[in-house]
């Protein structure tokens, strides 16, 4: 894997984007600029958190996904469904009903991702115990957080727990099981239903892994629509084909906030969700401000995966439904109606052998240059420019803040004259004509916007 290649599932449709700047102003890593009237993403700064997608008023930001028909490239088609997928459906739709309907959409096997959650947590607890010196240890469950740490907190990459995610564990298990049944490797296609863009990015260019464990990714909103439609069409008298028996009650809420923390018996651990909260906390962790910290569960979305950008419905309701399901299942386990130990535990050794990812490398977006002399000159220049800019953060230059513009200028991605205050200043001194100013604005805001708001009025 080329270390400079980072797949991003979040994309901007230039036909729809009208350059409203909302995404740029809300991006937690300042990865967006307006160029030619459209939002453009700096790929080395984007961590796929999806904040831009959430705030976009026109639906111009979309999440690229594999074509559903690509499942038919395989003779055996496995769908891996996270528990949060089931949480989207109203209470009267049963888990087994969703399992059955999703099979009918064209899959030969279905499995719930969190089936491997207990094995995952056992391994991560073991890693925490054996790596006292690296504390606090940080979960790698949320791929947006892994990328955030790589670009913004490079000093903390060694604190990341280098273990694959439950989706990888479950994929490895089911692939091995099908191979044992004598199915040819090329006939097996494993598809993952994702609640967010970060999981797609992690699948297409996994951090610390050579090859993805799944063959394709399907967006949760698309799958929700397909399943719900089938359920509506068939009405209430649906025959169940398969029972939902992959997960124990402990696993269902693994992807929710506190899901990992509660399976972890460390003294001082925190579960923090929502990316700005995470950034605020990591600043403190990086400075060693919090003593004796053992473990951190960090998730980019508010309410963790229930708040994933591709989930359908209100995140608090999804959260509640998942808790209700876990509670009911726990009762059945207590009554001996179902076993807590599942099939997957038979292959625990296989999963343990394949659990590790290789070293996760920092890729700081902050460093101005690898050569300290050059970086020093650039930083001096940025500080010099920053005081000349008006500190209005008006976004008219196409950057999220005056500070960001100063950085862009020094990195040769923008010019001082992109600032409207600077333009007026130069015009007053006859160093810039108003036509030249219009040309500058055209580059940032595009011909159309200029026509609509300056030239034709």
């Amino acid at each position: 894997m080329n270390e400079n290649f980072f797949y991003h599932a979040l994309q901007v449709d230039p036909k729809i984007c009208f350059g409203c700047t909302l995404c740029m102003r809300n991006c937690p890593t300042e990865a967006i600029r307006i160029r030619n009237g459209k939002a453009t993403i700096y790929e080395n700064k984007c961590v796929d958190c999806g904040e831009c997608y959430k705030v976009c008023p026109s639906g111009a930001i979309y999440v690229a996904q594999d074509d559903f028909q690509s499942i038919y490239n395989f003779k055996y088609r496995v769908v891996l469904m996270p528990s949060v997928f089931l949480g989207q459906f109203p209470e009267d739709i049963k888990a087994s009903q969703v399992y059955s309907v999703i099979m009918d959409l064209g899959f030969t096997h279905v499995m719930e991702v969190e089936a491997s959650a207990l094995i995952h947590s056992k391994l991560s607890n073991k890693y925490i115990r054996e790596n006292e010196d690296k504390k606090p240890l940080i979960s790698t469950f949320c791929p947006a957080i892994v990328r955030l740490i790589q670009v913004k907190f490079p000093a903390l990459v060694d604190n990341l727990i280098p273990i694959k995610a439950p989706v990888d564990f479950t994929a490895i298990y089911i692939r091995d099981k099908l191979l044992e049944e004598g199915i040819e490797p090329e006939d097996i296609g494993i598809f993952y239903i994702t609640p967010c863009a970060a999981k797609i990015a992690a699948t297409k260019s996994p951090v610390g892994e050579d090859k993805s464990t799944v063959d394709g990714v399907l967006n949760m909103d698309t799958m929700y629509n397909m399943v719900l439609k089938e359920i509506k069409v068939r009405g209430k008298n649906y025959q169940k084909k398969i029972s939902a028996n992959d997960v124990s009650s402990d696993c269902i809420i693994f992807s929710l906030t506190n899901g990992e923390k509660r399976l972890n018996n460390n003294k001082k651990s925190f579960a923090i969700d929502e990316i700005h909260n995470v950034i605020e906390f990591l600043e403190k962790v990086e400075d060693d401000e919090i003593e004796d910290l053992d473990f951190l569960e960090l998730r980019a979305c508010d309410e963790s995966c229930a708040g994933g950008i591709l989930t359908c419905g209100n995140r608090f309701l999804i959260n509640d439904r998942m808790f209700q399901r876990a509670k009911k299942l726990a009762e059945r386990e207590r009554n001996g109606e179902t076993l807590r130990k599942k099939e997957i535990s038979k292959k625990e050794d296989l999963l343990i052998d394949n659990a590790n990812v290789s070293k996760i490398m920092p890729r700081s977006m902050l460093k101005l240059d690898p050569d300290i002399n050059v970086a020093f000159q650039k930083l001096s220049k940025i500080r010099e420019l920053a005081v000349k800019l008006p500190q209005t953060d008006c976004n008219v230059c196409g950057a999220p803040s005056c500070k960001a513009l100063a950085e862009d200028i020094v990195c040769e991605n923008a010019k001082m004259t992109d600032c409207v205050f600077m333009q007026r200043n130069l015009e007053m001194r006859d160093s810039l004509s108003s036509n030249e100013s219009v040309e500058i604005m055209k580059k940032i805001w595009g011909e159309e916007k200029l026509k609509d708001y300056i030239l034709n009025k």
Binding site: P154, A155, E283, E286, D287, D288, E289, S364, L366, K367, L368, D369, P370, I372, N373, A375, F376, K378, L379, S380, I382, R383
Partner: protein
């Protein structure tokens, strides 16, 4: 040489860490070794808290060049009567009020000393203290 200044306000613990976080950002932009960044940040934070807790406010002067960062924290305050004693772990003259806020454990100066390459303290009773510290890149 790059120069930045900050002010420290007496008793304003809630704003402690502003200077160190600005310094952190600059050092990250220079791609300085994360361990060195952490050392400087911890030292500056401790010194900042010292000035807030013991003195009547002061200034922080930061100078960075290609080879090192030098931070000078100058306060107007009571001064340190016995520097040797103040350098001992656990020795503190912090008031009960300051201790109640979780500061004043007597680790300030020892912690600074452990984290920097050069430490120079000038103090005058009834006038103030100047702490100069350097981390080489």
């Amino acid at each position: 040489m790059m120069h930045t200044e900050f002010t420290v306000v007496e008793g304003d613990f809630s704003n402690a860490g502003k200077a160190s976080s600005e310094i952190k950002k600059m050092l990250k932009q220079l791609d300085i070794n994360p361990q060195k960044i952490k050392k400087m940040v911890v030292a500056v934070y401790e010194a900042e808290v010292n000035a807030i807790a013991h003195a009547y406010g002061g200034t922080i002067d930061v100078d960075i060049d290609q080879s090192k960062i030098c931070v000078v924290i100058k306060d107007v305050g009571p001064g340190i009567p016995d520097i040797e004693k103040a350098m001992q772990k656990g020795f503190s003259t912090a008031s009960a009020k300051v201790r109640e806020m979780g500061f004043g454990a007597g680790m300030g100066l020892p912690n600074i000393k452990n984290n920097v390459d050069e430490l120079d303290i000038k103090t005058e009773i009834g006038v103030g203290t100047e702490v100069r510290m350097v981390v080489n890149f």
